[in-house]
């Protein structure tokens, strides 16, 4: 592999990225979406020009995935990346069309400019870096130049090799570290899975300062507060399912992505995250709000430590380090990865990812209303939540591929009960309430 990102003829997928093309399907699309809602409707031509200018700076994203005998590999994209019109259902599967095989998409609808990234390419941090650079370039083309572009990469600047390094592989594999123990099957969303190609997104928009105040009043961080409320919402759904006669009820286990750049020195724009499992077991009885918040707070303090994280990274590295895994042909690797992925998904109920606060140059700030973040769909967990904030706007996105909006209803209703004003936006059909009908009207749960 050559040294400069622009001239590379091929490149490896990072340690986590290897998983996603292997398990990809019409339902496990592996795509997540970051959007910026502007104060005006941008011109498509100008966005395309900004994209054309910024993409060479992110040449490690201007690739397509191909299958080799043993691994999936990135090769430079053969076709230009075009700005696409948006679709009612976000995070749809990647195109198999020969003219568009990029593992990322740029979409435009009204005031919303979105990027959809495949997880084989990057995580939220890399995607956000790309979106911010695209926005900065778009506004520059509009004539809005900034004195300080913060850490946003600009077109023409050199590409530091650290941006496209596999930071997982920098950590040495230690065969002495034991594998993490397996977990029991978790409680799953009780709704029937939606037809292929459908993805229900519900965005809750809240004032950040008020939400932070509610969290601080309980001695919690924003992430801990939202995870706690999410657990409480799931607890309601758990007891609804129990009352309706569902027998196989496991604990509620939430997977929380951790940005490893905060634990290890890395500035990569490729994947560098892991998820840690947080568990609440309503089979033991109903947990009060205070109990849940306390549990989440202490659990986060205990679980997010380098030793636990190192154990998981070490387990993941086995997949690319051990010789007997390396020599397996790709079709066998795919088979095993699919099996492990499905087993892994049975162990989790849902996920909640917090991207944190987005900063833009102060000249651009007033022209962006908010950022949005929608998690990738998966038939195992069926529903996931994501959080992103910008200025004083906190946007919580919940995406699901199963019928029934019990979780969202309980989650946002609880936030309302804490005195937080919530504005809801959704891609649900406006005239069709059946997809999100209350529990009593659903086929799978009855109160």
């Amino acid at each position: 592999m050559s040294v400069t990102a622009n001239k590379r003829e091929w490149s490896r997928l990072d340690n986590v990225g290897n998983l996603f093309p292997a398990v990809q399907s019409d339902r496990i699309t592996g795509l997540f979406r970051l959007s910026a809602v502007l104060d005006h409707v941008p011109l498509k031509g100008l966005v395309q020009e900004a994209l054309d200018r910024i993409l060479p700076r992110f040449s490690y994203f201007n690739v397509e995935v191909v299958e080799n005998l043993f691994w999936h590999t990135f090769i430079p994209a053969k076709h230009p990346l075009l700005v696409l019109p948006d679709t009612p259902n976000p995070n749809l599967p990647l195109s198999k069309d020969s003219t568009s095989r990029h593992p990322l998409r740029v979409r435009l609808f009204q005031k919303r400019l979105s990027v959809e990234f495949h997880h084989s390419l990057t995580d939220g941090t890399g995607a956000l870096a790309f979106l911010r650079a695209l926005l900065a370039e778009y506004f520059a083309l509009k004539g809005l130049t900034c004195q300080d572009y913060l850490d946003i990469p600009r077109p023409g600047s050199t590409i530091p090799p650290e941006e496209y390094e596999d930071s997982y592989s920098k950590l040495p594999y230690d065969p002495e570290i034991p594998l993490p123990s397996s977990r029991s099957p978790a409680f799953q969303h009780p709704g029937k899975i939606l037809p292929k190609g459908e993805y229900r997104a519900i965005l809750g928009i809240l004032p950040l300062d008020l939400t932070l105040a509610r969290a601080k009043a309980r001695g919690l961080s924003l992430t801990e507060f939202l995870i706690g409320v999410y657990f409480l919402a799931w607890q309601e759904v758990f007891f609804l399912a129990k009352r309706s006669g569902k027998k196989t009820l496991g604990p509620i286990r939430m997977h929380i992505p951790v940005n490893l750049r905060r634990l290890y020195p890395s500035s990569t724009h490729l994947n560098f995250f892991l998820t840690i499992p947080l568990e609440l077991d309503p089979r033991l009885g109903q947990w009060s709000d205070a109990e849940v918040f306390e549990k989440v707070h202490h659990f986060m303090q205990i679980e997010v430590n380098p030793k636990n994280i190192r154990q998981q990274i070490n387990a993941n590295l086995r997949g690319v380090i051990l010789p007997y895994v390396r020599v397996l042909p790709l079709f066998l690797k795919k088979l095993f990865l699919r099996l492990f992925y499905h087993w892994g998904e049975k162990e989790q109920t849902s996920a909640l990812s917090n991207m944190g606060q987005v900063k833009m140059p102060k000249e651009i700030e007033p022209h962006i209303h908010r950022f949005e973040f929608l998690p990738p769909p998966s038939p195992g967990t069926r529903i996931a939540a994501s959080v992103i904030s910008y200025q004083n706007v906190l946007c919580i996105g919940i995406g699901r591929i199963a019928e029934g909006s019990w979780v969202e209803a309980a989650f946002f209703r609880r936030l309302r009960e804490y005195g937080l004003p919530v504005k809801i936006e959704t891609n649900l059909p406006k005239e069709e309430p059946w997809r999100s009908a209350p529990v009593a009207e659903s086929s799978s749960i009855t109160t």
Binding site: P85, T87, F109, G197, S405, A409, V422, I424, T426, K430
Partner: protein
């Protein structure tokens, strides 16, 4: 500004139902704060996914073609090879065509009634009866169908029906379902044995079905015991103190 009267969240003005709890949202007139749709409504480039019914229909058309077309082929070959329009007759092709036609009917009813046990069972028994009657008839006389084929089918139908009724009526389904199925198989094999003997020797006699019954009846009793005896009467905890 529109609000859900039930959960209190704020919604777009053109929303008719709360997306969280389905509550109807009163229509607000004269509020022009929302002028742009937040999400696109249509996707002309979206990949069209087939529903399971569409997949079934397509498979049915493909397999129907594979079964129906050979019927015409074998009939035509038989007709022309035996003289064609100069006095040709259909001989060997008739049973072949009949089997293909019945196979098509199996497929058709299976694809369309797969979710309904009673109709699909009745249709399969009827088609099988028709298939056997046809094969017997093409042999130039109705010989074994009435005395052997139809009674066996009737016995099969009766045991299927009894099994279905048992599974339908039983409140707690478990090992007792297996017990019922195994008992039905044992009884069916006895009746099969008896009917074959009656056809061949014109008297009711059972021979080999005694052996199968020795294996199947205890197995059936064992399943029923697991279901009823073990659960209700045998308290292993009290017996072994654990």
């Amino acid at each position: 500004m529109a609000f859900c009267p039930r959960c209190g969240v704020q919604l777009d003005n053109d929303v008719r139902f709360c997306p969280l709890d389905g509550t109807p949202i009163p229509v607000l007139e004269g509020d022009e704060t929302q002028t742009l749709a937040p999400w696109p409504n249509t996707d002309p480039l979206a990949k069209k996914y087939l529903t399971s019914k569409e997949i079934r229909d397509r498979l049915l058309i493909i397999f129907s073609g594979l079964l129906i077309l050979p019927i015409f082929v074998v009939l035509a070959v038989d007709f022309y090879s035996s003289g064609g329009f100069d006095g040709g007759t259909l001989t060997w092709s008739l049973p072949v065509a009949w089997i293909l036609l019945c196979s098509f009917l199996y497929l058709f009813f299976g694809f369309n009634l797969y979710h309904a046990f009673v109709p699909v069972s009745l249709s399969y028994l009827s088609i099988t009866a028709g298939l056997l009657l046809g094969l017997d008839f093409f042999n130039e006389q109705v010989d074994w169908f009435l005395t052997l084929g139809l009674p066996i089918l009737s016995a099969l139908g009766i045991f299927l029906l009894l099994n279905y009724l048992f599974i339908l009526k039983t409140k707690r389904k478990g090992y007792n379902v297996f017990g019922s199925i195994v008992a039905s198989i044992a009884l069916f094999l006895i009746s099969l044995d008896g009917l074959i003997h009656y056809y061949l020797q014109e008297r009711f006699l059972v021979s080999w079905s005694i052996l199968t019954s020795f294996a199947l009846v205890p197995l059936s009793i064992y399943f029923f015991f697991l279901h009823y005896g073990l659960k209700r009467n045998l308290d292993l905890g009290r017996t072994f103190h654990f």
